[in-house]
Structures are given as C-alpha cells and as structure tokens.
C-alpha cells in the first residue's frame, strides 16, 4: 500500500469523484482566520510529496512567509503519515513548488500569465496545481475575470484553488450556505467547500461538487493545532 493512501485527503478526493480535475477552478470558503490558507497549502503539500508540481500565488504574504508555512505543514504531514528520508523529500517539495508574490494593488491576470510563460519556457516548470491566496476577491471581481482564471486553468492544464471569505454577518447566503457574490459566478466554479469552526475542530463541508445535484457529505475535520486533516 502506498503511504499516501493513508492520507485523509484521499477520502476528500473520492468524495469529489477523483478531485477537482485539471483545467477546473475550485473555492474554499470560510470566515477569516479559520484556516483557508492552511487547508489550501495542505492540499498542495499532499500533491508535492507525491511528486506533482504546485504554483502558489499570494498577494498577502512574502515569499519567506509562504515558504515557512509549507515547511510547517510538510513536517506535520510527514509525521502524520510516518514518512522517512525527509531531507530528500524536502528537497523534492522545493523543486516542485514555485511561489509567486504580487503587490495586490498592481496584480493582474496578464502579469500572472507572463510569469507562467517565463516559468514554463525558461525553467521548464509546468504546475499540476495552482493555489491563489488573496486573489481574486469575489466581491470586487467581474464575471470576465473569473472566466479568465478558468481559461488560465485550461491553458495550464492545472487545477486552480482559491479561498474566499465569509463575513460574520450581513451577508446573504443561499440555502446551501454559499454567499451571493460567489453564487453569481457559480457556472465557473467546479467545486465549493467550506470550513466551519466547531468547538474543538474545524468541519469540512462540500457545498458544490461538479454537476451533482446533492453534494456528498464527508467526515473530515481539520485539527486546529497541527492544521492537518483527520478522519472524524
């Protein structure tokens, strides 16, 4: 048995019928500070440890910060799965990852496209997964921009994940719990998940799963201490 079969993320993948899928765009929702970034990076680390490539885009942290975040979660996951030879694995994780940091005020999709092209042509870097942290901000984003991200996912042949904030109050939610500004872009969003803080853990819920009528329920929760996923 492959050690990664033990990872709780496999359960999530099965619930999503094999995952988000290449060329697709997915969103993780939660209130600020619940752990969206951690959860996104946990998915990225899982990919990286299995030898896939990840591009991480941030408009809110420095390269060093993001890197420290990955190091921390790589260590936590290695402990959870009992991985050996961490020195080599760490090196492989770094080889497979590229962090792009932009000034939020001057970030555009075109700039990102340009960097993606540079990385592909000059560094031979073709990511399987892209994490976008801090951008887009759905409440201020036009439909064509979201479509732009979907197009980019297809051009890159990668899955793109991003986070979106739930506010404490005064936000209109539909009956699944999806805020209006997000439901607005629904046709371009393949998967929507949410992180809900409970008394001693954080519950993961799937609000939308590809084209299925009723989203599946998963018994997964996030450990608020180690920021790793576990079975419930």
């Amino acid at each position: 048995m492959n050690v990664f079969d033990k990872s709780p993320l496999r359960l999530l993948e099965r619930a999503l019928n094999g995952g988000l899928g290449r060329g697709k765009f997915g969103v993780v929702l939660s209130r600020p500070g619940v752990g969206k970034t951690s959860f996104l990076i946990a998915m990225a680390v899982d990919h990286l440890l299995q030898g896939r490539k990840v591009m991480h885009i941030s408009t809110k942290e420095t390269v060093e910060h993001v890197r420290a975040f990955y190091d921390q979660l790589t260590k936590a996951m290695a402990e959870q799965l009992g991985l050996d030879n961490m020195m080599q694995r760490q090196l492989d994780v770094e080889r497979g990852r590229h962090i792009l940091v932009y000034n939020p005020e001057t970030f555009t999709l075109d700039k990102l496209r340009q960097s993606v092209a540079f990385l592909r042509e000059d560094a031979g870097f073709r990511p399987d997964m892209v994490i976008m942290d801090g951008t887009p901000r759905f409440e201020y984003t036009e439909d064509w921009e979201i479509r732009g991200i979907c197009n980019l996912a297809q051009e890159m042949d990668a899955e793109i994940w991003t986070g979106a904030n739930l506010h404490r109050e005064g936000q209109e939610l539909d009956d699944r719990g999806v805020p209006r500004e997000l439901a607005w872009h629904e046709e371009n969003l393949e998967v929507i998940m949410s992180l809900e803080p409970e008394s001693d853990h954080i519950r993961l819920q799937i609000l939308k799963e590809h084209d299925s009528e009723k989203p599946p329920s998963v018994s997964l929760q996030l450990d608020p201490e180690t920021r790793t996923l576990r079975w419930r």
Binding site: V63, V66, R95, Y102, N103, Q114, F118, A123
Partner: protein
C-alpha cells in the same frame, strides 16, 4: 571621570554598496569638524574618502573593514562603526552590529530598496538594532524618496514615516522641509555648511500639511501625551521628538530623512536625528555569560556603569600604520592606561600600554575610557571576539559564527613568499573567524576556507598588497558533508586480551538522522550496565566519528546517537575501551544507514527589471537552482532561489552578461542538502581512490 552616557551614541551606517555610504560618512566627519576637506570616494584627487583606510577598498570602491571613528555633534559623542557593505563579509557586518546601539540605514532615492538592503536589514533585525533611514542621492535624476519610503514599508515591513519632504528633487534639489518644525531648510556655502531656515514655499504647503498629519498619526501611537495634544491642538516639537524616540527605541518606527550627501544637503539634520532619536548605551540591554567554577554558565545583564568591574569586547583587529590595533567596546567599568586586564579566552594577563580614540587613520591618545565607549588598544595579543575583564570569567554572548563553505588551495610563488604568506594567514585567521587556514596532510597544500569566492579573493589580494606574498591558487572547492538517511541499530563488543590488562566494552543502541542538523547524544542506559563514569567516553567516541565519515571522508552532520544498553567488566573496562567500542560500532553500521553526500545550498536573491525575468531564471536553472519564489512589484522582480554553491562560481559575470548589467544578486549560506547522485558518485570514487593509494 564620569561621562554622561546619555550623550554617547554608538552607531553604524549600513547600506547597499552604491547608495553613497562612504560619502555620507565623509560629510558627517566634515560637519563635525573631524576633517577639514571633503574628498570623493572614487576620487579624482587620488586621496579618497577618509573612512576607507585600505588601499584595496579604495580601488574597488567598497568598504571592507569596519573602522571605528569618533566625532561630536551638539555636545554628544558619536562613535561611528563603518560597517562593510558586501554580503560575503557577513561576519564583519554582524560583528559590527553587535557593538552598535543604533544605525542609519542609507538608501538610494533612485534605486530604492535593493536585494542587498534586504540582506543588511535582516541582519539588523536579528540584532534588534534601532534605525533611522536616510534617503540619499535626492539630486539624481529619477529620485523618488516617497517611493523609497513605501518600499521600506512594503519590502522590509518597516513602520517607515517621512519626517521631511524634499525641497525640489533631481537637479532642483535644494534642501528639505522639516515636518516637525514646519519650515524649509536650504543649505548654503561651498560645502553646504550654512543652514538657512525659511517658510515653506506656498506650492508645497498643502502637501507638507498632509504629510505632517500622516507623520503625527504614526508617531502618536507611541505617546498618549502627544495623542491628547493633537486633539487639543497643543502639539510641541519636544512632544513629537519624544514620541519618535520611543518608537525608534522599541524598534517599531523608522523615521525617514532625506538629502544628498554628495551635494551637501540634509546631513546636519540627519545628525540631529541621530542624537535625538537613536539610543544611548543605557537604552540598550547587553547580556554576557559568566562561567562559574563548576562549569555552569550564568547569563547576566551588563550594567553600563563605570563603578562596576570592567567588561570589554574586542570586535575588530586592524594592522596599519599604528601597528596592531584592537577595537574594543567597553560595556561596564573603566579601562585605564597602564593597567592589567585579562583575556578571558586565553586566561592571559595583558598590559594596556596605550589607549586611543580613532578617527579613521588618525589617532588621539587618551588616558582612560569608560562604559559605553568604543576605543582602540595598541599591540594587544588577542583574536577578534575576545572579552577582557579585570579577572572574572565572562564572555559576551557568543556570536553566531557560520562554518566556511568554500575552500581554495594556495601555493607561495617562491621561498620568500612562503614566510610572508604564513604571516598573513596568521593575521587573517585571527581577524576573521569565518576565514580558516590549514595544511592538507596528504598533499601538503595550504588550504584556505571562507564564506564565498569573493571573501577568499579579497584575502589573496591583501596577501599580495599588505604582505608582499605572491601566491598561485587552485580552483575553489566546495565543503561537502555527509550523513546517514536511515536509522540503524548497533550492538558491538570490543574485547582485547594481549597479556597485561585487557580491554572490554559492549555498547548497544541506535543512530538516527536528527532534525536540526546537529550532533546529539542521548543515553537510556539503566541499571548501571554501562557505569556512569564511562558514558562521557562513549559520547566522545561517537563525537570523534563525526569528524570524518566513511562515505566520502567529509565531516558527518545531523546524527543522533541513542545509547540504550551495554556491558562492562570490573577490571578490563576503561574510558579507552568504551571510546574504541563506540568508534568501531559506528564504523560497523554506518554503511547500512544509506549515507548520502550533502552540499551547501546558497540562498541567492536576484533582482532586476521584470522583462529580464526569463533571462535570470535561465541562469539559475542552468545552475541546478531550486526557485523558491518570485516577488513582483513596480516593474521589478526579485527571484529567490536555492542554488548549490558549487554552481555559483563566476555567477557575477554570467548574470552581468545575461542581463546587460541590469540585475544584481546577493548570496547567503542557506543549508546543507543532499547532492545529486552524479556528484555523490564522483566524490565517492575520489575518496576510494585516495584510500586505496594511501594503503
């Protein structure tokens, strides 16, 4: 002789190579009356700025050695420690930072915050040095001090706040608007020595008022009094100064000043700021360690009091026209001429024959110096980093000294050079703990080791110039390490019976990779199966094994040994027997732990215009670089990558030609990481060949 310590400032001037640090220092010395004429750094007059006392530095236009120089301003005594600007000389920078209480961060108003400013800033943060910023070169075309202030906030996360506005920029740059006084200052006279205060010109008044509000807003966070006064509109200049000073001392505020040292604009106001806002020695807490007789180490805070027993720290050795100089900072007590002091590292007593206060290469004899002062001792035999006391065994918290990562074989050109070379090496190794020299027992070659290619190059050049030693050099070599990647168990009996008393020791346990790259030893032996008196012999035995691994003969790093059980014999067991048993046990199981070769990875940051991103990436990828990240802002891109040191030789030239000189880079040791198989196999083969030859 009590000096008022509140009127002492020990400061550094820290900056990127071309931001005009030496020119600024020169101007400071001029305005404080220390020098009579102004020279230029890369001077046409052939004299050169006074602070760069070494010829080599003059030629390269960079400052390598940190000389301390003294001057006075507004009744205050300022000691300026000239900190080197190149990252290959990190230990010099860090040593200077240790004795500073505050610093002026010089930035170029055109180039702004560059990758090197980031490295230097990181070092200052590590030592918690309070700073004021000076945005220099406001007379250059493209000058934009507001942008530089924004970069300080964004790239270096400083709470930077402009205390001044420029009175014209580029060729029009005439002076500054002081947002505390709300007046304009222009600088007149041949050398800008006369400050002319006047009302703020009408066209700048609105902006000045808006900027003052921003400044007051940021500064009032540090003073309730000021915050109230703002509401009641009763703000005084002193209230603002007091609040800024608090912000600076807590390392939470960086006030920004402007000007052009070259054009003699704004330097005097910067000096006012140094005196007003930067800490005096008693504002900073410095710690030392006292070694008790029982081997215990006790940390304590140095008092800064003249009445207490002497503690002084040698941070710089220099050999020049005055012979051997040792720069020391006194943390407490008084140092008198003619007294004896103890070097706590060697335990030797030394006599203080002569004391001096230095002004670059001119010297003033003094009788004594007290707490907080920085002075020079003459002809004292010591290494830099040593602590002097009147007798107590005290050492200043050891500074982090990195292990050298690159080596080079050198050979004297002739017999005469041999002697001179040894003299030079002897001196350099005492001046700089990251520079090492040794003789390879097999080849007989002299090997020098250091922190980078440039680091070693500079010493080779100094050998030639200062000591007249011509040497030929081999190719630079990387310092490899090795380690085991899998845990292994050992169970070894050492038994020897050859007449007389025999040897017997048995050790059982395991060896595993450690998390932090260090050697650890742990014992879980119970019931006295290995008597306690032999445990330290076991530790020593394993520690000795770390010096040379059996995979490629490199030092072994990052292993943890857990001793679990063993056996001893009442007569035949000894320290020696256990030590041998451990060494044999290690040798026995090492190959089973899947040993690998580790190579030093450097953190390389390249910064350049965004459109050259691809070119830069190519140069890094060709060097087996692991791209960590890319930061894009305002058309500039910084690429951070981990690159094996072995691939970085000659990179400066490659980068220059790939980017037409538009990109620059800095490099710092990052960590050791497994080397690729081809590299490992080659090293292994060489090692086995060497061994076969040796036997």
């Amino acid at each position: 002789m009590m000096t008022d310590l509140s009127k002492v400032r020990n400061i550094g001037i820290s900056a990127h190579i071309d931001s005009g640090k030496t020119t600024l220092t020169e101007r400071i010395l001029f305005y404080t009356g220390r020098i009579r004429a102004i020279h230029e750094v890369r001077g046409k007059d052939g004299v050169g700025a006074t602070m760069d006392s070494m010829e080599l530095e003059r030629e390269r236009g960079i400052t390598i050695q940190s000389a301390a120089t003294n001057c006075s301003w507004d009744d205050h005594n300022i000691n300026i420690i000239d900190t080197p600007g190149h990252v290959d000389f990190t230990i010099e920078v860090e040593r200077a930072l240790r004795v500073l209480d505050g610093a002026v961060l010089v930035l170029c108003s055109v180039a702004g915050v560059q990758s090197q400013s980031i490295t230097v800033d990181r070092q200052m943060k590590r030592y918690k040095v309070p700073r004021v910023a000076f945005v220099n070169k406001c007379d250059r075309s493209g000058a934009n001090p507001m942008r530089v202030t924004d970069q300080l906030r964004e790239k270096l996360s400083h709470n930077a706040v402009m205390m001044q506005l420029p009175l014209g920029l580029e060729a029009e740059h005439d002076g500054v608007i002081d947002l505390v006084r709300m007046q304009a200052a222009s600088f007149e006279g041949d050398n800008g020595e006369t400050i002319n205060w006047s009302d703020i010109p009408d066209h700048l008044l609105v902006e000045a008022e808006a900027r003052r509000e921003v400044m007051l807003d940021a500064v009032s966070m540090f003073s309730d009094e000021l915050m109230e006064a703002i509401l009641e509109e009763t703000v005084t200049e002193d209230m603002i100064h007091e609040a800024v000073r608090r912000g600076v001392l807590s390392n939470e505020l960086t006030p920004v000043f402007l000007g052009s040292a070259y054009k003699n604009r704004g330097v005097q106001l910067l000096l006012d700021a140094v005196v007003r806002y930067l800490p005096c020695p008693t504002d900073i807490e410095n710690e030392a360690i006292e070694f008790e007789r029982g081997g215990e180490e006790i940390g304590f805070v140095l008092s800064n009091n003249d009445e207490d027993e002497l503690v002084a720290h040698a941070f710089k050795l220099e050999d020049g026209s005055y012979g051997q100089l040792t720069y020391v900072r006194i943390y407490q007590g008084v140092l008198h001429k003619g007294t004896d002091i103890i070097n706590t590292r060697t335990g030797k007593k030394v006599k203080v024959g002569r004391l001096g206060r230095m002004h670059a290469d001119q010297m003033e004899d003094i009788e004594s110096a007290g707490a907080g002062d920085i002075i020079a001792l003459f002809g004292i035999d010591c290494a830099s980093g040593d602590t002097f006391t009147a007798g107590r065994r005290i050492s200043l918290t050891s500074m982090h000294v990195p292990e050298p990562v690159v080596s080079l074989a050198i050979e004297p050109a002739d017999n005469k050079a041999q002697d001179k070379m040894s003299k030079a090496l002897h001196r350099f190794t005492r001046e700089d703990p990251t520079f090492r020299a040794s003789v390879d027992p097999e080849s007989g070659d002299t090997i020098i080791r250091g922190m980078g290619e440039l680091h070693l190059e500079v010493y080779i050049e100094r050998m030639k110039r200062e000591f007249g030693a011509e040497v030929t050099t081999g190719a630079p070599k990387v310092a490899y390490r090795e380690t085991m990647t899998n845990p292994v168990a050992f169970n070894y009996v050492h038994r020897k019976q050859t007449g007389g008393s025999g040897q017997y020791a048995k050790v059982i346990g395991r060896i595993e990779p450690s998390d932090d790259g260090q050697f650890h030893f742990e014992t879980k032996v119970t019931g006295g199966n290995i008597p306690t008196e032999y445990i330290s012999a076991c530790q020593k035995g394993f520690a000795m094994c770390m010096g040379e691994g059996a995979f490629i003969g490199a030092p072994v790093q990052g292993l943890k040994v857990v001793l679990e059980d063993g056996d001893s014999h009442a007569v035949d067991s000894s320290d020696m027997a256990f030590q041998t048993a451990c060494r044999m046990a290690f040798r026995d199981v090492y190959a089973g732990g899947n040993p690998v070769v580790l190579e030093p990875l450097m953190m390389v940051s390249v910064e350049g215009p965004g459109e050259l991103q691809g070119e830069v990436l190519k140069t890094l990828m060709q060097r087996r670089g692991i791209i960590v990240g890319t930061t894009e802002d305002e058309g500039f891109v910084r690429i951070d990558a981990h690159v094996p040191l072995s691939e970085m030789f000659g990179y400066a030239n490659v980068l220059r030609s790939a980017t037409a000189g538009k990109a620059e880079f800095t490099m710092e040791f990052a960590r050791y990481a497994p080397a690729p198989r081809e590299v490992a196999e080659e090293l292994r083969k060489d090692y086995l060949d060497q061994r076969a030859k040796g036997k």
